[in-house]
């Protein structure tokens, strides 16, 4: 209903968004994580989803990729409702999706090379030398061609995540979901990654969703930003508009101010009450 209204900011090559989320609600045990969330992810763009830790960003990616089902609402990816697909169709769709897990999630029994080769070997019948070429290209683009013989246990956290990125782009998907791509990267590899994500996006025309709380870096490459908190979208817009937003919430988050309406704490009873309770003999 309000689809086009939220996205009138740019002229898109294909006007229909790749992903539309409508009325999404989701809870885990007692805790409501999303309540009536609407989102649009435009095609061929980099969209960033930001929010404080625990806001549900990883959960949102898992919902979009069909790993978990929403309680209510619709999530459409390329025109199909992903949570109504059978396993076969879902897998068909996922061959065109890449996902970078927050933890990297490399296969610990395979070497770096075999990890990146994994999706190629599972889904293509390419001869070994072509697979080798492709794997080395992907590893080169994340700067880890020299580490191809190492096992995941021998990698640092940041290196593991770059290998996972190489694996996520191995099949040249139409969209990539990045969960915290910048966490644990030194300034140089951070710069390389930013450039890589940009290049992938521009050169291959793929759609990227970045989940991050690195405001500066994310704002630098994202075309569009969603800010989430307390189970809803607080604000959305281009980095430029959000940077000058009048909302105190957005200002605090975008400029990383310690004081303001954003709660740093997980929901809890008042601090003083909690302390007094502990002092009293239970």
């Amino acid at each position: 209903m309000s689809t086009s209204a939220t996205l009138s900011h740019t002229a898109l090559p294909n006007n229909k968004p790749l992903i539309t989320v409508r009325g999404l609600s989701f809870h885990r045990s007692e805790r409501i994580i999303f309540q009536d969330v609407d989102l649009d992810i435009p095609r061929g763009r980099i969209t960033a989803i930001m929010g404080p830790s625990g806001a549900g960003k990883t959960t949102l990616l898992r919902l979009i990729s069909g790993q978990i089902r929403p309680d209510a609402g619709r999530i459409e990816v390329d025109g199909v409702c992903i949570h109504q697909l059978g396993r076969r169709e879902l897998y068909q769709l996922r061959k065109r999706m890449g996902m970078l897990f927050q933890s990297g999630a490399l296969f610990t029994d395979l070497s770096v090379f075999d990890n990146v080769a994994f999706p190629l070997r599972e889904h293509t019948r390419l001869p070994a030398h072509l697979i080798r070429t492709l794997v080395l290209m992907k590893l080169e683009s994340v700067g880890l061609r020299g580490a191809r013989e190492l096992m995941p246990a021998e990698l640092s956290g940041g290196m593991a995540r770059r290998v996972a990125l190489a694996r996520a782009i191995a099949l040249d998907p139409m969209m990539i979901l990045y969960d915290e791509p910048f966490a644990g990267q030194d300034p140089i590899s951070m710069g390389v990654l930013i450039k890589l994500i940009r290049t992938l996006n521009n050169a291959l025309g793929l759609t990227s969703i970045i989940v991050s709380h690195d405001v500066k870096e994310t704002a630098a490459i994202a075309d569009y930003l969603y800010l989430m908190s307390d189970g809803r979208v607080v604000e959305h817009g281009t980095p430029a508009t959000l940077g000058h937003s009048a909302s105190p919430w957005v200002t605090q988050f975008m400029h990383a101010l310690p004081d303001g309406p954003v709660s740093f704490h997980y929901p809890a009873p008042p601090y003083s009450a909690d302390l007094l309770l502990a002092g009293a003999p239970a």
Partner: protein, 261 residues
């Protein structure tokens, strides 16, 4: 009051729901087996993990169990001048009961627990989820090869355990205690029947135990809470449930096969 009733209700329904999930899990596992026709290479690595690496414990245990059977059997039979039946005693105990049962118990401790911990860790570190995100079904790629490898390995290990056990009995009886070697083998061959003892005991029992032990191990791993406590709990549960299931089933199978009822 209501809280108590709810607790009781839960303690009935939770195991039932779990059993339902275990059955669905087994069906999906069977459905995924055909994938191995395309990728038989996946079996080799798993056969190594559950079979080859279990060999030392199976060989050593089998030898010692056989030697103890030889000693105990001799001590009892010598009073009746019936030590020539020692071969029969050793072989029948091993072929019918001790071979399949002890192999399954040792397998649960050595390989089953490793299967559970391995799958549980793959789940905890999101390896299974990332595999699914790459449109690869973990049932086909991870669980089915492990299941089939275990299913093949258990009967082979049982055969090895039993054969080594009989050899151990022979060493003690014939080489050490001087029982007549010819009588040892001849009596054994006269009393151990191929279909009722070897096929029923070593082959059929071990096939059943192989299914059960691997099913439990993989299911516990797949259901494990993705935390270190969850995985250690699941590993313990694998060993305990497999042992109980094997012993219970063994009683049932013995009653059916050897016509005690």
């Amino acid at each position: 009051m209501i809280a108590v009733l709810t607790k009781i209700g839960q303690s009935v329904l939770d195991p039932l729901a779990r059993m339902g999930r275990a059955n669905l899990f087994f069906l999906r596992l069977l459905g995924a087996l055909s994938f191995l026709l395309q990728r038989p290479g996946l079996l080799v690595k798993q056969l190594h993990a559950v079979g080859v690496l279990s060999l030392p414990i199976i060989l050593v245990s089998g030898l010692f169990v056989g030697m103890v059977l030889g000693l105990q059997g001799y001590a009892n039979l010598v009073d009746f001048g019936a030590t020539s039946s020692l071969g029969t005693v050793v072989a029948l105990s091993l072929v019918r009961e001790l071979g399949p049962v002890l192999t399954a118990l040792l397998y649960a401790g050595r390989a089953g627990s490793a299967l559970t911990a391995g799958i549980g860790l793959m789940k905890a570190t999101e390896q299974l989820a990332s595999m699914q995100m790459m449109a690869v079904d973990p049932f086909q790629r991870v669980l089915a090869p492990r299941f089939l490898a275990g299913f093949i390995a258990v009967p082979l290990l049982t055969g090895i355990f039993t054969a080594v056990g009989i050899l151990g009995g022979y060493l003690v009886a014939v080489v050490q205690l001087g029982v007549d070697g010819g009588a040892f083998w001849a009596q054994m061959q006269a009393k151990v029947h191929f279909f009722t003892d070897v096929v029923n005991g070593v082959v059929l029992k071990s096939l059943v135990f192989g299914v059960v032990a691997n099913w439990i191990a993989l299911f516990e791993g797949y259901e494990a809470q993705p935390t270190s406590e969850g995985i250690s709990l699941a590993t313990t549960r694998t060993v305990v449930s497999t042992s109980l299931a094997v012993l219970g089933l063994d009683f049932l199978l013995t009653a059916l096969m050897f016509g005690v009822w």
